[in-house]
């Protein structure tokens, strides 16, 4: 992997300790209520992940203020998915401290929801759309308990949010890619979390689904939720998100889109191979 020396471009738009102040400042609506400062929704320190001695993520620091939509952007193999999985404890980390709303993840599970990549499961699995959405509630149902009426109602509400209520009894193998994605989103919505992690939700979806996801993200932000999204399409970053982290094994930069999503940083992230360059405003 092409990797310029560490210290040449380890800029931090959000300095350590300034707990998301800059992010909050970029958000007038949040700023009014920001005294005393809210703890960051996600705070990552020195996160390092290695597969067989090869670093996949190297010494990542990140603060995500509450109530922002943050995109994680970087080339293939940059470790975007691994970052989310490491934060959620799904892969072993070599080092690092992760806090959500100032507490370790283990204490905050009920406030966190995860939307894995659509391709990570077998969609020919014998289950209906409702079955999959109900899985979002399995964590809080408790051992030996089965989902009942209340849970089914919650699942329907979540399906309505993504305009999939008509598909509740459909076998999941009959869904299009976009519909599968919306089912995954509904499964996260029933969790009624405060912090959402979504891995490539826009990957290979139709225009209807893309619009539905954007509407959903904005609705979540309006309700003060925080969403961290692995995103592929550089063209839409400024339109859809207000914060961004540029990632290529190391964190190249992170912060409000206007400060960070610049040609220089992008070039650093993509090693000069960036086909898309932002027009200066």
């Amino acid at each position: 992997m092409l990797m310029p020396p560490l210290n040449t471009f380890m800029f931090s738009v959000q300095p350590r300790g300034a707990v998301g102040r800059r992010g909050v400042g970029a958000h007038p609506s949040a700023a009014e209520t920001a005294l005393p400062a809210l703890p960051p929704a996600l705070s990552v320190r020195d996160l390092t992940v290695a597969y067989r001695e090869k670093p996949v993520l190297w010494d990542i620091d990140l603060d995500v203020p509450q109530g922002v939509l943050l995109a994680i952007v970087g080339p293939n193999g940059a470790g975007k998915t691994t970052f989310i999985k490491a934060v959620l404890g799904l892969v072993n980390t070599a080092a690092g401290d992760v806090r959500m709303f100032d507490y370790p993840y283990a204490d905050q599970r009920s406030r966190i929801a995860y939307v894995p990549q659509r391709g990570s499961v077998d969609w020919d699995f014998p289950a209906s759309v409702r079955d999959v959405v109900l899985m979002g509630l399995y964590g809080r149902l408790g051992w030996f308990k089965r989902p009942g009426k209340a849970e089914r109602a919650k699942a329907m509400t979540a399906l309505e949010h993504v305009e999939m209520e008509a598909f509740a009894d459909r076998q999941i193998s009959q869904l299009s890619g976009g519909q599968q994605q919306r089912v995954f989103l509904a499964r996260a919505l029933v969790q009624d979390a405060d912090l959402y992690f979504m891995d490539e939700p826009f990957q290979g979806v139709d225009a209807t689904t893309e619009r539905a996801i954007i509407a959903l993200l904005r609705d979540l932000r309006k309700r003060g939720k925080t969403v961290v999204v692995v995103h592929h399409d550089l063209q839409t970053v400024s339109e859809y998100f207000d914060h961004v982290m540029l990632l290529n094994v190391r964190r190249i930069a992170s912060g409000p889109v206007d400060d960070v999503f610049t040609e220089d940083y992008l070039r650093t992230t993509y090693g000069g191979r960036v086909g898309f360059l932002r027009q200066p405003k």
């Binding site: 959620l88 077998d122 014998p126 899985m135 089965r146 499964r187």
Partner: protein
């Protein structure tokens, strides 16, 4: 006297095989859905040295003792497979193959050694290779039923957790479910299911009893609960039928017979099950092909009609034939459309859309325009 003996034997054989089929059908469903079909093979083969060691240690052929040995050895093999996969570069399938060969080889060695010792009890241990249902006594059946109840109770109690584990384990982990522990529990239940079948089906073919009923059940349903129930039913059917056949026809080995019955169920399901079965699929594809063919002609006719003021303007069949991707079939297609009331024949060579056909064509054209063509069902 003979009648009584036959009844007794048949009854225990049938009951034992039914229990075996029920339990392996239920646990096999999860193994198949998790794409771990081969783990059953590894566990079953790995159980052999456990059986042999249990015999050497106790010196008797008590079923409980032998099955306990089988359980420990099978369980140890899966733990080693998981450990090996996690801590080395050896892939899962290689680790399975490795454990299977090592344990089974060791088991065969022990069997040979036991055969050379002057022990009157020794005869019959090798029946664990291919199974021997006729040797089942009611006490064995009770033991199998007790073990099987534990395995099935585990599946019922942990239903929703196992559901997540099989569909999306990483998501389950993000929910805070102890996925690794659940994996271990499911594997343990699987080992129990296999141990139950060793006497009847034998170590060599036991894995088929996990895979075949589940694979057959998958053809008939799209619901996990129904799949587990069907798989249990298929397993029991195969077990009872096979055991019955092998105990009535002389020199028919039990294990292979049961497995062949299960395979017959798979073949039957794969051909005839609605939706997934090959026959149904062929019919559906033929229907879809016909639909597409007819739609194409209808749309061609509509395209021509749009060039005229009068939308039901008649057109020559020859023109439509030129527009078609499959020339030569146009008359045939037009007749089929006429049968459906979508077009009508004006004279020998001219055809026109009917009012019904026009509206159908307009809907079709609109659907193609916005790309929302529904998936053909």
């Amino acid at each position: 006297m003979l009648d009584g003996l036959l009844d007794y034997t048949l009854r225990s054989v049938a009951l034992g095989s039914a229990v075996l089929g029920l339990v392996s059908g239920a646990l096999g469903t999860f193994a198949v859905l998790r794409r771990q079909s081969l783990i059953g093979d590894a566990i079953a083969h790995a159980a052999l040295p456990g059986i042999a060691l249990a015999f050497l240690l106790t010196g008797t052929k008590s079923t409980a003792g032998l099955l306990l040995g089988a359980f420990i050895a099978g369980w140890l093999a899966t733990v080693l497979v998981n450990g090996l996969t996690r801590s080395s570069r050896i892939k899962y399938d290689s680790a399975l193959g490795l454990m299977l060969a090592v344990f089974f080889g060791f088991g065969l060695m022990l069997l040979t050694y036991i055969q050379q010792t002057p022990n009157a009890n020794q005869a019959g241990l090798e029946s664990f290779l291919f199974g021997q249902a006729a040797a089942l006594v009611m006490r064995d059946v009770w033991l199998m039923a007790a073990l099987g109840s534990v395995a099935l109770a585990g599946v019922v109690l942990l239903w929703k957790e196992l559901h997540v584990l099989a569909f999306d384990p990483e998501f389950g982990q993000s929910l805070g479910l102890p996925i690794r522990r659940l994996d271990l529990i499911l594997t343990t239940l699987l080992v129990i299911a296999i141990v139950i079948g060793l006497q009847t089906v034998g170590v060599v073919l036991m894995s088929a009893m996990l895979i075949a009923p589940a694979a057959a059940a998958r053809q008939w349903t799209d619901r996990l609960g129904m799949m587990v129930l069907l798989s249990m039913g298929f397993g029991a059917t195969a077990g009872v039928t096979g055991a019955f056949l092998s105990s009535t026809i002389t020199n028919l080995p039990t294990g292979p017979t049961i497995v062949l019955c299960a395979t017959a169920l798979v073949a039957f399901s794969m051909t005839l099950a609605p939706n997934r079965g090959l026959v149904w699929r062929a019919i559906r594809e033929w229907r879809q092909g016909r639909q597409l063919r007819l739609d194409a002609v209808l749309l061609d006719l509509y395209a021509l009609a749009r060039q005229h003021q009068q939308q039901q303007h008649p057109h020559r069949e020859a023109v439509l034939n030129i527009m078609s991707d499959v020339p030569g079939r146009t008359v045939h297609n037009l007749r089929e459309l006429a049968d459906a009331g979508l077009v009508r024949q004006i004279d020998a060579t001219h055809w026109a859309l009917t009012a019904h056909g026009l509206s159908k064509a307009q809907t079709l054209a609109a659907e193609r325009e916005d790309g929302s063509t529904p998936v053909l069902a």
